[in-house]
């Protein structure tokens, strides 16, 4: 019994980050029809900025929570700037060109990764713990810090879901991802909505990266492994589908924690890939995808 609770808790904390990550991917795909291979680099930049800023702020005498708070905000701002630059100079010209945008984003991902290695050095960093203590729930254990992380991530995800379901911008985003020409005919300013969608997706990756910074070891290529799993989650759920991204992320998290416990991590990864193949064989556009 204990072990099942523990596995459930593990799945929850892994899944929370994947949900944020894949929500951003699927949103960007839905609105602009681009497969953004550089999404992991937004995530990595946020984590790296937090990892650099926190020790720096502490040196200035800032208390730990203040240092984290400031670093968090700074990281989000930094990533938004990067997102805006990439949108203006690159992705804007490749909307609805799936192959072209993918090729471009592969190049950007490689370039950014190289730059991160140059700027931040390839050393791994570990930050001081923000919140001490461990919580026991029904026999499963989780550090308080990770629990807080999960709760924030889930709140952001739920907030995002609500915003897309009911706000004006959310409705515009959904209209554009269903049929951008019909949306334009209804007077929805496509270009502005595309930019908003892209930046929101970027921000979600940044939140995921910044949240994860205190609990994992951070290196300049941290984005790659999350990117691959985020993509698997989105493909399983159906590109462009928001419930699909959530379902896919949870499935991936369960496979990763259960498979990693009973077998070993690389077998769990193989299992994920096999699952993608099976899902695509049965439903070539993902579980929640249409068409």
């Amino acid at each position: 019994m204990d072990i099942y609770v523990q596995l459930l808790v593990n799945s929850l904390q892994i899944g929370a980050v994947y949900v944020l990550f894949s929500l951003g991917l699927t949103l960007i795909f839905g609105v602009m029809r681009i497969v953004n291979f550089a999404h992991g680099e937004f995530f990595a930049l946020a984590a790296l900025l937090v990892a650099v800023a926190v020790p720096w702020l502490i040196d200035f005498g800032a208390p730990l929570p203040v240092a984290y708070g400031l670093a968090f905000l700074g990281a989000l701002a930094g990533v938004l700037v990067l997102g805006k630059i990439l949108y203006e100079f690159a992705f804007r010209r490749f909307q609805r060109d799936m192959i072209g945008s993918f090729v471009l984003s592969v190049g950007l991902a490689l370039l950014l990764q190289g730059l991160y290695i140059e700027i931040f050095s390839s050393a791994s960093r570990k930050l001081p713990t923000l919140i001490e203590g461990t919580l026991r729930i029904l026999g499963g254990a989780i550090t308080t810090q990770r629990l807080v992380l999960c709760v924030i991530a889930l709140l952001v995800a739920v907030g995002m879901y609500w915003a897309i379901a009911s706000t004006r911008l959310g409705k515009a985003l959904r209209a554009v991802s269903e049929d951008h020409e019909a949306a334009m005919l209804q007077g929805i300013p496509y270009r502005r909505i595309a930019l908003s969608g892209f930046l929101i997706g970027t921000l979600l990756a940044a939140v995921a990266g910044a949240l994860l910074a205190p609990v994992v070891v951070i290196g300049p290529v941290i984005g790659s492994s999350y990117l691959i799993k985020g993509f698997i989650a989105v493909v399983i759920g159906g590109l462009g589908s928001i419930p699909g991204a959530i379902i896919g992320s949870i499935l991936i998290a369960v496979i990763e924690s259960v498979g990693g416990y009973y077998f070993d991590p690389s077998l769990a990864t193989i299992a994920m890939f096999v699952m993608v193949m099976v899902v695509l064989l049965v439903r070539p556009a993902g579980i929640m995808g249409n068409g």
Binding site: I99, V103, V106, A109, I117, I228, F231, V276, L280
Partner: protein, 310 residues
């Protein structure tokens, strides 16, 4: 194509063959081998792009060719020609099965699945102890009496398969491939089995890719799972994007230029990521038709009447 370029191409090929023979067995010889293999890999990557799919599984098939060729040489001591053929056949046959399953998906879905396939293969190599697990296979040498001629053999094999791919693209089969990229529903309505055609296209490209893998294994003498990550496909994509994808010569040009440039640039330190990343970004943003398109525009007399490729 006009007579003059054809003569030029023949002359260039002859130079490559002769040059490879006199390169000796040092750095220059290795460079020639790398360039030649990269050229053929890029051409085979482009062959699948004819149906409009980015084939990231290519990196995986290079690995299958390399491991199959390596096993044939080190464990069964087969002749080189047979080892190369086995590498190609293994990659080709596996790709037919994989393609039959994965080519039902297209566009973003296919490229993500092919990407996943490459990464799975890499994990599998590192788990199988017979082929060396994580540390890989060693001692894959061409037979001693052929070692002197190995660069020439590589160049000849590459030239042969480039020609085969070019002829295939020009044949009716090649025209069907391009038609599938443009409008697969239309191709289906005239009674052509689109799915099977795509599978064959991937199979042919992977056969050629398998040869590349086997050639590479015998050139490097050592292979390990890390050599066959999806980055192989990304670098190939860089060659193609910089060279230009509208003609097979674009693939050749891009692979030659970037491989040589990379050798030069890597002298400055570990800038590999930045170099290839920047090459792709610049290629996509500034050179939509690649160096080949640029060359075509510089020679206005030889401009081709048909519209530019996608």
């Amino acid at each position: 194509m006009a007579k003059l370029p054809r003569a030029l191409l023949a002359a260039a090929s002859l130079c490559a063959v002769i040059g490879s023979y006199f390169s000796g067995s040092d750095f220059a010889a290795n460079l020639i081998i790398w360039v030649a293999i990269n050229v053929l890999m890029t051409a085979s990557f482009r062959f699948v792009l004819l149906i409009g799919e980015l084939n990231f599984a290519m990196a995986g098939f290079v690995g299958i060719g390399a491991y199959a060729g390596g096993i044939a040489t080190t464990m069964y001591h087969l002749p080189l020609a047979l080892a190369l053929l086995l590498g190609a056949a293994a990659a080709g046959l596996i790709s037919l099965v994989v393609g039959f399953v994965t080519l039902r998906a297209k566009g973003a879905y296919f490229l993500l699945v092919s990407f996943a396939f490459t990464e799975v293969l890499r994990l599998i190599y590192s788990k199988v102890d017979v082929i060396g697990g994580n540390s890989g296979m060693i001692g894959i040498f061409p037979p001693a009496y052929l070692a002197r001629f190995y660069p020439t053999i590589v160049v000849l094999v590459v030239l042969f398969f480039l020609f085969v791919l070019y002829r295939m693209e020009r044949s009716d089969f090649g025209k069907i491939l391009v038609a599938i990229r443009n409008n697969d529903d239309l191709v289906q309505t005239v009674g052509i089995d689109v799915h099977l055609t795509k599978v064959w296209c991937l199979g042919i490209a992977s056969f050629v890719t398998g040869i590349c893998g086997a050639l590479l294994a015998h050139a490097n003498n050592v292979i390990s799972p890390g050599d066959f990550s999806f980055l192989v496909a990304v670098y190939t994509l860089a060659y193609l994007k910089v060279g230009g994808e509208s003609h097979i010569l674009g693939a050749v040009l891009g692979a030659i230029v970037l491989t040589l440039l990379a050798q030069y640039a890597l002298g400055f330190g570990a800038y590999e990521h930045i170099f290839y990343g920047a090459a792709i970004v610049i290629g996509v943003l500034l050179l939509p038709d690649g160096l080949f398109g640029l060359a075509q525009r510089m020679l206005p007399g030889r401009r081709r009447p048909e519209g530019s490729g996608s």
